[in-house]
């Protein structure tokens, strides 16, 4: 073969290897990792702290109440900041410690807060249109062992939290009113971990891990995208109790409270902004409330505690 052919062949091979096989260098940004500092967080600005009892995840809590908090801040002229306690107990303790100025909690927690000096000033109208709510006892529709409330004896029960009104206390009271006591159940478990506990109860029953579950009304609608609701049967429902309540900690500035209360109650009057805020918060409205509105809860708590 002539030398020219060899040269052309080798050049083509070299080009092929270069074109196909060469690992081209990717451009890189130069950083100096040796220059290090200790991190200190800036102190947060003074603001009215607003907390939503963590029945859902912080994200959902934030998402639901973001517009309301922004509205209050804008209307009242006071800076607001949402805070996110992880548990009901922490929520209560934070109110007690004065770390939460405005608390939005269920009525059962409220009576604990009230004992710490907090006072109710507004309550919400549920999406059902009623200012109260109740507990639902659910089981799997295909659970042949459970047909009546009586069948719940000797079964495993999962509830939201020992402090959850709609998720446990209402149901427990309902069972007791029907002669079924705590000891009649093989097991009473509570939804694990922070947030989202209502949903966890539905999922646990749906999964068959527990025979019955107790959730507040409206929860099933929440999980309709995660659970086939046709597989779930509502076994019983408790009597309704006053709904979720806005309370202010002890010692909060009454002027600020009045401004806040007024702003909140104004939402109930309607309007597009109010509708958007209430829709995000899953309310129908906000109405005035007094501490006396929650006496039925207190009596319920008394019955429970006597048990």
């Amino acid at each position: 073969m002539r030398k020219e052919y060899w040269a052309v062949g080798l050049a083509a091979l070299a080009l092929l290897i270069l074109a196909v096989g060469w690992d081209r260098e990717e451009p890189a940004t130069r950083v100096d990792l040796s220059r290090r500092v200790d991190i200190t967080l800036k102190t947060q600005t003074e603001a009215i702290t607003y907390a939503y009892l963590p029945q859902y995840s912080h994200s959902i809590s934030f998402e639901r109440h973001r517009l309301l908090v922004e509205y209050l801040s804008r209307v009242t002229g006071y800076p607001f900041r949402q805070v996110f306690p992880d548990t009901f107990d922490e929520h209560v303790k934070m109110v007690e410690r004065g770390e939460i100025d405005i608390s939005f909690s269920n009525p059962f927690i409220y009576i604990r807060l009230a004992r710490a000096g907090a006072r109710a000033f507004a309550r919400i109208v549920e999406e059902s249109g009623r200012p109260d709510f109740y507990s639902q006892i659910i089981c799997r529709k295909d659970n042949r062992a459970i047909h009546t409330l009586e069948d719940c004896r000797g079964k495993r029960w999962i509830a939201v939290d020992p402090s959850s009104a709609g998720g446990f206390v209402f149901a427990l009271d309902y069972f007791q009113s029907h002669g079924i006591k705590r000891g009649d159940f093989t097991e009473i478990a509570f939804a694990p971990g922070p947030g989202g506990k209502q949903e966890k109860v539905v999922l646990a029953v749906y999964a068959g891990k527990y025979d019955i579950g107790s959730v507040r009304n409206g929860t099933l609608e929440l999980v309709k995208n995660k659970v086939d609701l046709d597989a779930i049967r509502v076994l019983a429902e408790s009597r309704p109790y006053p709904g979720w309540v806005y309370a202010v900690r002890r010692g909060f500035d009454p002027n600020k409270l009045e401004a806040i209360r007024e702003a909140m109650l104004r939402l109930d009057a309607g309007g597009p902004e109010a509708a958007a805020i209430l829709e995000a918060a899953h309310f129908k409205g906000i109405i005035p409330a007094t501490d006396a509105d929650y006496d039925p809860i207190r009596s319920l708590a008394g019955r429970i505690s006597q048990e």
């Binding site: 096989g21 690992d23 940004t29 220059r35 290090r36 912080h58 994200s59 998402e63 996110f84 992880d86």
Partner: protein, 693 residues
């Protein structure tokens, strides 16, 4: 490239295989490595994205809750998931670090090194810390569509690419292993191939050295006569174990074409013998080689036989050409000598090989060369045969040549050269001259004889009357005049006798005689008168001289002539040396008569025996003496010759010749002891003698 060509064939196969495997390894390995590398990069990016987004999602609640412990746990847990996760940290909305995975201090440069893209899109950026390269992933921490900060994860590219490097190592190892295996296999293969090729090469080398009896292909277990169950022993393939039948011409198998290889091969394709015995290409090549060697051997044998015949014919032709005295030469159409015989080469004082390639201009003087070239060209142009007689000066004399020029034609009838032969006809020319001279002499002799015969009678009468008148007249003037008439008449009678002798009018009277006596009688007769002319005669006669059969008178006449000529050659005096010798072996006697005279001119040396040739002034000689002597000696079956000057080894008596004039000349007369005429001619001669008496 030259070095590559010199490599062994097996090495070339190994190199080729290695090159192919290397080429394929490069062509396939490089893209695989590239694709793998790219896949790893994509995987790293995908993984980083997942990790960063996961961190972002999981950190949303802790960020909202300002739960630094959970954030710290999140980033630490993430950092501990895999060794290639270089760092993880979370920034708040203002860019403050909420939590990070570094145990001591935080590299502040990282904060601004990367940020989510527009609309909160994932941003991937390659960072170079100097020690290593890190893929940084930035994802916003979003809650309800609002960004609360940024989750950042760093994946070490250097550690992440370790699998790629392992993959590269595996590919390299596989390529190396494949290369090793291919080299081993190719070596085995190359040895298998080259072993058979080497047999062929050895065979070829043996062929070059002349050994055509080697057999590269091995003998087969089954031959055609076995396979075909054939017993036709007259078939040329039958019993031939060296060649497969398809190499043998003229086979008698019915399916065979019968023609020579390879034409007949077409008819063999379906033959059971071919299907059984045909091998691969190298086997075919080997057997073709063997067949070629055998064919070559046959051809060489035929060529050698032809060469022998040709050589023999060439030798014969060369011998014929060389032994012929004719000058033979062959010229091509450009008149360049292509061949000549030895005589021609000698004529131009060259060797035969030196003449070939030369032209006439190289071999002959310009004038002669021009003439020859012209003559040769005329033959080339006309195509006709020419013959001429030419004369050339050579040495002391001239030579005559009869030249024939013949055109040489090729197969197409085209003139391609000239064949030229030249025969030396000088001797024939001499014979022609001598014949003419002899005819002239014969006519002249007859004329002279007739005249002499006619004159002899009145001359006898004049002599007789003169003698008678002398007796009748008293002494006195008249008697003296008559005496003068008588003497002159005797002189005339002597002349007439010579003429009669020349014209063979006189008869020989041969008898037994003594040569020495004949010589001495003449010497004695003239010695005194010679001495008066200051000429001495010295003799040196062989005493062993036997009896010779001859005519004493005529021989004396010869001696007399020779002695007289010797004296005449020495007008100032000198010496005449006479020597006789018997040569028993040659059965001859030789007489030398030498003088110390002026010698004979070379130009006339060849003519002195001609009749009437004389150097003497008019009235001093007739020019018949030597001619008569020549005739007498020839009549005795002898030979007479002259040498001048006398040969150096002739042996003139030392001291005698010293001071004498001239180089002289020697006449040599050789007479046979028995010239064969005695028995045949004795009777008539005796009769003649008797008749004379």
């Amino acid at each position: 490239m030259h070095a590559l060509q010199r490599l062994k064939f097996s090495t070339k196969i190994n190199l080729g295989t290695t090159g192919i495997v290397l080429f394929l390894s490069l062509v396939m390995g490089a893209p695989v490595a590239r694709v793998a590398s790219q896949a790893l990069v994509d995987e790293v990016k995908m993984r980083g994205r997942v990790l960063a987004e996961s961190l972002s999602v999981r950190s949303a609640d802790p960020v909202l809750a300002q739960d630094f412990l959970r954030l710290k746990n999140l980033v630490d847990d993430l950092r501990g998931v895999s060794g290639d996760i270089e760092y993880a940290f979370i920034l708040d909305k203002a860019g403050g670090v909420l939590a990070h995975s570094y145990p001591k201090g935080f590299p502040v440069d990282l904060i601004t090194a990367n940020a989510p893209g527009p609309g909160g899109a994932l941003s991937v950026r390659l960072l170079d810390s100097g020690d290593e390269r890190i893929y940084d992933f930035a994802v916003p921490v979003r809650v309800a569509g609002e960004s609360f900060g940024t989750a950042r994860v760093g994946l070490s590219w250097s550690r992440a690419r370790a699998p790629v490097e392992r993959l590269g190592g595996i590919i390299l190892g596989l390529a190396g292993g494949g290369l090793f295996v291919s080299v081993v296999l190719s070596t085995i293969f190359a040895r298998q191939v080259t072993r058979r090729l080497n047999v062929l090469r050895t065979h070829a080398a043996e062929m070059v050295t002349g050994n055509l009896d080697m057999q590269a292909g091995g003998e087969l277990a089954r031959n055609c006569w076995d396979i075909m169950d054939c017993d036709r022993k007259e078939c040329p393939a039958y019993g031939d174990k060296r060649r497969r039948c398809w190499y043998v011409a003229g086979t008698l198998c019915l399916e065979c074409d019968g023609g020579p290889f390879p034409q007949k091969l077409e008819s063999c394709r379906e033959c059971p013998v071919y299907l059984t015995n045909a091998g691969d290409e190298i086997q075919d090549l080997t057997e073709t080689f063997d067949a070629m060697a055998m064919t070559l051997k046959t051809h060489i044998a035929e060529l050698r036989e032809a060469e022998k015949v040709l050589t023999r014919q060439q030798q014969i032709m060369r011998t014929i050409l060389d032994v012929t005295p004719d000058l033979v030469s062959l010229l091509d159409e450009h008149l360049v000598y292509q061949a000549c015989n030895r005589a021609f080469a000698a004529s131009v004082s060259r060797e035969v090989d030196e003449v070939v390639g030369k032209t006439d201009a190289d071999l002959f003087p310009a004038e002669l060369a021009a003439g020859r070239t012209e003559a040769n060209r005329r033959v080339l142009v006309t195509g006709e045969r020419f013959q001429t007689e030419t004369r050339r000066e050579a040495g002391h004399g001239e030579r005559w040549f009869h030249t024939v020029q013949v055109p040489v034609f090729d197969r197409d009838g085209r003139i391609v050269g000239v064949l030229r032969t030249a025969r030396d006809v000088t001797q024939i020319k001499d014979y022609q001259d001598q014949l003419i001279q002899a005819q002239k002499m014969e006519s002249l002799g007859k004329l002279a004889g007739g005249v002499a015969h006619e004159i002899n009678t009145p001359l006898g009468i004049i002599l007789g009357y003169a003698q008678l008148l002398q007796e009748d007249v008293p002494e006195g003037q008249v008697r003296e005049d008559l005496g003068t008439i008588e003497r002159q008449a005797k002189v005339c009678r002597k002349i007439v006798a010579d003429l009669l002798g020349f014209s063979r009018q006189s008869r020989s009277a041969k008898r037994d005689m003594c040569l020495n006596n004949s010589v001495m009688e003449t010497v004695t007769l003239v010695r005194h008168s010679f001495e008066l002319d200051r000429v001495r005669i010295v003799t040196d006669l062989d005493e062993r001289m036997p009896v010779l059969y001859g005519d004493p008178d005529k021989l004396r006449q010869v001696w007399m002539n020779l002695l007289t000529n010797a004296r005449d050659a020495m007008p100032g005096g000198g010496m005449v040396f006479v020597r006789t010798r018997l040569d028993t072996g040659a059965q001859k006697v030789t007489v030398w008569v030498a003088d110390t005279g002026s010698g004979i001119e070379p130009a006339i040396l060849g003519r002195i025996f001609d009749p009437f040739f004389s150097t003497k002034p008019v009235g001093k000689g007739t020019g018949l003496g030597l001619a008569v002597s020549f005739g007498i000696i020839k009549e005795h079956g002898g030979d007479i010759s002259a040498h001048s000057p006398a040969p150096a080894d002739f042996g003139l008596p030392r001291g005698e010749a010293a001071g004498e004039q001239g180089a002289g000349s020697v006449f040599e007369v050789a007479l046979p002891l028995d010239h064969g005429e005695r028995d045949d001619e004795a009777a008539p001669e005796d009769g003649g003698a008797a008749k004379k008496e």
